[in-house]
């Protein structure tokens, strides 16, 4: 089947790629651009492991066709750190021990980042509500919630 040319910005860099019309964004990220931070788990939009930020909104990349993102701006976990410095959320996840197997972590961090970008001071309940859309089978969420609260505090202070 004829491929479709798609141009979009990913982590600040403009990218053009010829993709299959039925290719998911997750496939493009992992298998064409080698950005393997977004993970494939349920593949049906239930788990949130493949979450990326599309024009400021957290989305499941397994449910998006790559031709749909023409002209859009994408952030993946690889684009969070700058000049060798980690994002406050990444730091907080390490400090609080919010990572065990790590499979859900990139999705968790990006879902949390989108929340903190639109709300500087979310309540604990808001964080729980937002994070509950992502599945973690190791940590029991407590450490993840603590990490997001701690990162929110740090980000407000800077």
């Amino acid at each position: 089947m004829k491929e479709v040319e798609v141009t979009f910005t990913i982590n600040g860099e403009k990218v053009s790629a010829d993709v299959k019309p039925y290719e998911t964004l997750l496939e493009t990220l992992r298998e064409r651009l080698y950005l393997t931070g977004a993970k494939e788990a349920c593949s049906l939009g239930s788990c949130g492991a493949c979450t990326i930020i599309l024009d400021g909104i957290p989305v499941r990349s397994c449910l998006i066709l790559t031709p749909e993102v023409e002209g859009k701006n994408i952030t993946t976990v690889e684009g969070l750190g700058k000049d060798g410095t980690l994002h406050p959320l990444q730091e907080a996840f390490m400090e609080k021990g919010a990572v065990q197997c790590g499979f859900c972590t990139s999705g968790m961090i990006l879902t949390a980042k989108a929340l903190l970008d639109r709300q500087k001071k979310p309540s604990k309940n808001q964080i729980i509500r937002t994070i509950s859309s992502n599945i973690c089978r190791c940590t029991g969420y407590k450490k993840i919630i603590e990490a997001v609260m701690s990162a929110a505090e740090k980000m407000r202070a800077t």
Binding site: Y22, L44, C62, L63, L65, E68, S132, N134
Partner: protein, 316 residues
């Protein structure tokens, strides 16, 4: 999970989308908006399209505006945008509750109201991988000979698991549709066929362009039962709306379409009566992870919970 091969098209107007649909006739064509319901179905081979027409770029379908005595909501408006609209928050509590209860926040930011209303019916024996269904033998909804949920049954019992259509029905919402024969506006209930196998009574290629909600301040609420509270589809959903003592109850997630009835708040014991009527109107079968008897009982429980909330609000 890899998607099957299909072509992707991106028209900019409703007219072009309809022309494209006509041009592709003879092929399996589906409309795409947010994709949160459609893409998993394609992945599970429940839909096998040869052409996917993306409606997201159609200008005018992503706005919420006041139009005469209606709140005119474009079909491409996301559930999150609608949930945060001041009029919805202030005047349409049943809809505000059902939007809040739909999936999770991340899905609400991508999923659209049009797609949510037009989602396919669901069944424990249907929404499975192709291998699972093949091993068991295809059910009626897949083109097989017999229902796999109710042994020997020659009809489909899949449930319409949309959260927002029941709320919209209690609010007296209408659907605005565009087809090759022109536009039409119908009460929302009229888009349902009542048949679980093919739940919608839309004409071939017809596009849901807007949902129209009367701009009347209402009281009400929506409650649902689900297993994973953060994301699941409803296994029972109940919406109640009231205006000047006249009310409407709609029950979703049991059967192929929302069931609804009207009531008078001024009648003595209205809350107990509507709970009984609601329970008597539904006949769940064993096609979800919860038992039919539990789901039936929970219909009246949810109605009573909403009625209690309304009475408490009245006292304030």
């Amino acid at each position: 999970m890899i998607l099957p091969e299909f072509e992707y098209r991106k028209p900019k107007t409703v007219k072009k989308a309809l022309q494209l649909y006509q041009a592709c006739r003879g092929n399996a064509v589906v409309y795409l908006s947010g994709g949160t319901d459609l893409v998993p179905r394609i992945k599970q081979r429940l839909e096998k399209p040869s052409v996917v027409i993306d409606l997201k770029n159609i200008t005018g379908l992503n706005k919420i505006e006041l139009f005469r005595s209606w709140l005119k909501v474009g079909a491409n408006v996301t559930l999150y945008e609608l949930k945060n609209h001041p009029f919805v928050k202030d005047a349409l509590p049943a809809l505000a509750d059902s939007l809040e209860a739909t999936a999770c926040e991340t899905i609400q930011m991508r999923g659209t109201i049009g797609g949510n209303v037009l989602q396919d019916t669901r069944c424990l024996f249907y929404n499975k991988s192709d291998e699972w269904r093949k091993a068991r033998g295809y059910c009626l909804k897949m083109g097989g000979q017999v229902c796999n949920a109710v042994k020997g049954a020659k009809m489909c019992f899949a449930n319409y698991a949309g959260d927002n259509a029941p709320s919209l029905i209690t609010l007296g919402a209408h659907a605005s549709l565009s087809g090759i024969d022109g536009k039409r506006q119908v009460p929302l209930d009229a888009i349902f066929s009542g048949k679980s196998g093919r739940p919608f009574a839309l004409k071939s290629g017809e596009i849901l362009t807007h949902i129209l909600i009367p701009t009347i301040k209402t009281r009400g609420g929506y409650l649902k039962i689900r297993v994973r509270d953060s994301i699941d589809y409803p296994l029972v959903g109940v919406a109640v709306s009231l205006v000047n003592g006249k009310g409407c109850v709609a029950i979703g997630a049991i059967g192929g379409k929302p069931v609804y009835f009207e009531f008078d708040e001024n009648e003595t014991g209205w809350d107990q009566r509507i709970a009984q009527v609601a329970e008597s109107r539904v006949t769940p079968v064993a096609n979800t992870v919860l038992s039919p008897s539990y789901r039936k009982k929970m219909v009246s429980v949810l109605v009573k919970r909403i009625a209690r909330k309304l009475e408490e609000e009245n006292k304030l």
